[in-house]
Amino acid sequence: MATLSRKDVEHVAYLARLGLTEEELARLEGQLNHILDQYAILAELDTEHIPPTAQTIEVENILREDVVLPGLSAEEALANAPDRAGDHIVVPPILADQGS
């Protein structure tokens, strides 16, 4: 199986939105490759015709009556928000001009 380069580790960290220090990146490169080595054992098994299992119990189409049930009040839902304006959560700008 594949080996992770330092560049791969940096790319995966970015995909996962983890800001890592140089030291963490270096340590993870070694540790992740060591763990990936353990995964190599799976190549021994021929699984071409084996269906995947995502879930172990047989449940399907779990529906409930479409009725309004009590939920959290706005105050309760907002209580943990780091930044709020009235009944809204303030989110960081994603389309703003960085210079403005």
């Binding site: 983890l18 890592l20 763990i35 119990i57 309760e76 960085q98």
Partner: protein
Amino acid sequence: MTADRRLTRLHARQMAAGLRATEFSARELLDAHLELITSQDGPLHAWVFVDEGGARAQADEADDRMASSRRAGAEALGQLPALLGIPVALKDLVLTAGQPSTAGSRILDGYLSPYDAHISQRLRAAGAVLPGKTNMDEFAMGSSTEHSAWGPTANPWDLERVPGGSSGGSATAVAAFHAPLAIGTDTGGSIRQPAALTGTVGLKPTYGRVSRYGIVAFASSLDQIGPFGRDVRDAAMLLGVVAGRDERDSTSAAIPVPDYSASLTDSDDQAAASLRGIRLGLPRQYFVAGMEAGVESRIREAVAALAAAGAEIVDVDLPHTDYGLATYYIIAPAEASANLARYDGVRYGRSVRLPGADYIADYLEMRGSGFGAEVKRRIMLGTYALSAGYYDAYYLKAQKVRTLIKADFDQAFEKIDALVAPTSPTVAFRFGARLADPVAMYLSDACTLPVNMAGLPGLSVPCGLSDGLPVGLQFIGRPWDELRLFQLGRAYEAITADADWRTLEPPGLAKLDDPATPSAADRAAAVRAAA
């Protein structure tokens, strides 16, 4: 106010009987436990949050309820809920309205849950007293409780060793008599392995047996909630309260929940007799490389005792067991990386807003500094296993091997009633021993994680000591067959009722009042240095 430590030594069902017989009040029972927590939890660090005032109010309410039922007559007293006035410890990922739940993570520091988990509601309805939250590996990722952001928990049997994990705080709370019962969660062994390492009883129920509404998620196709107790009947009593269908968790199954307590006999003779004719499979692959000789001896002795009492022992093969670890360490991190994407610092939890930076830089900083090393490792593994170009080679491959692992169990259960196996290949290990090598830590769960992969119930019961430390015996059952596991565990208790080790209290408890015993802070510093 009396705070009689002897009350803490009772089993939960004895506490329930004592409360009904007015031998003591729920308030006295709680105060006895709070006194132990206050005086002895410093070096142990089983708890990360204790609400004495809230718990006392719950205990007083239980006493009021008990008194008014007593005035109404014997029938009303008989109808009181099973856990009325009984303290139950909750792992720090079980939400309780208005209280903190950090899941062992800095990222949830300061979070106050706006609502109760389903099981918190069930426990309150059953009259349980909820003193607080117990320590755990961050987001339930770990087998030692050393990955808690709040420092590790010590094992009551040897304060220099881990209690296992991730539910190490719950296991220690029960082993150290801080509560007769505790709730844990088990994704790859996180109830059974700490139960084994602390000499307590722990059950991972069938996937879908207990609603996970209001539980901080780790790996959603594997996570399950279960009980800890100091014996099988107590653990069964707690499962009976929390099990069953809940509309808010669509994976919770509408399968009837048996009356576990009524189905477990108090008679040792009857319990032992129930073993006659039972077919137990002994999976040869569970005597894994790296298993300690003392652990293997205790397991083989326990199996011999079950055979001597009339159980038929059948050697069985679970040929894909050796692939379990790799499969699990693809699937669980993949699901975790998706579940933990929700920590964005916007709606709740730790937040970082760097001046002048864009939102991606804020995420990177908040998540990079908020998650601990093991959680970051798993998010990295999971993100990689799900990333473009690697999905088929890792995630899909692992899901296919999961099918093979499950099929091994299905085939075995055609010939047997349950499996009997070790819970953990080793006894409790020293702090730091497995921190530098993640794979060594992952091997702690070699005998438990296949059970999660197949969604089956597994029970760990103490089966003696190796080098003075507890060993756990695991029974694994068919889906929804928790009752049989409890009956087997109860039968094993009955046939070993006279064993010397059953009456031993964890020897570390005697050192807790000694000022020379290292504090939790000393231990946390040592663990940080080893990591």
